[in-house]
Amino acid sequence: MIEVLFFARLRETLDLARLALELSEPTTVGALKAQLAARGASWQALFAGCQVLAAVNQEMADDATPIRPGDEVAFFPPATGG
């Protein structure tokens, strides 16, 4: 199992804050994004763009970052704090 979190515009568009996914073997952020994009039109629109950032275990990640069972993965737009 992995936990996938969504924040801000992504959370609102998907109407989903968290998602538990089965993970039988290690994957990558890029592969997970492709898998999520296949879930439907709104997912496709969000994950095809370049405006989705990812974190694995609360550290910034890129498409090559590995994901292992038990990890916490998050997707969110570029930060606008401060």
């Binding site: 924040f7 801000a8 974190a55 998050a74 570029p78 930060a79 606008t80 704090g81 401060g82």
Partner: protein, 157 residues
């Protein structure tokens, strides 16, 4: 040295934080630079309220990492970052960054560095409420460029 990262759901008081840094006898320093970011109150672009969302856990880690990078570049005394989350109104403080140091040059540089990285790397997101509806604030390219400026300066050293 003590680092402080405070995520506040209410009551960010720049005056009280300033006093805390001025009165810090344990790390007595000659220079203090503070930055306060506030919800803008522009009549041409009325924002009635702002919602600040963040990623609890990652927020604190990323701010601590940014402070670590600043300390690696400059000798600093106290570093204190406070950031509001939740609902804010025009004129209210969103963020406070305070840095003390032995000399003003590094206190200014570190405070600006911390703000540049906070804006691009710390997982906060703003949604604005206006008479025409609500909208997520879009990240500005200039914030990314600002963070890249420090990386270029580092490579030149």
């Amino acid at each position: 040295m003590t680092d402080d990262v405070r995520i506040l759901t209410t009551g960010l008081d720049p005056a009280a934080l300033t006093t805390e840094l001025v009165n810090d006898r344990a790390h007595s320093q000659g220079a203090l630079v503070t930055f306060v970011g506030m919800v803008r109150d522009l009549s041409a672009n009325p924002v009635t309220a702002m919602q600040l969302e963040h990623y609890p856990g990652m927020t604190e880690k990323s701010l601590a990492a940014i402070i670590g990078r600043a300390r690696a570049r400059w000798p600093l005394g106290r570093v204190l970052i406070a950031h509001r989350v939740g609902l804010l109104h025009p004129g209210e403080p969103i963020v406070f960054v305070g840095v003390t140091g032995g000399h003003r040059r590094e206190a200014f540089a570190a405070c600006e560095f911390l703000m540049d990285y906070l804006k691009t790397e710390a997982p906060f997101w703003k949604k604005e409420f206006t008479p025409d509806g609500e909208r997520w604030v879009e990240a500005k390219p200039s914030d990314c460029e600002a963070a890249q400026r420090w990386q270029a300066a580092q490579q030149q050293q």
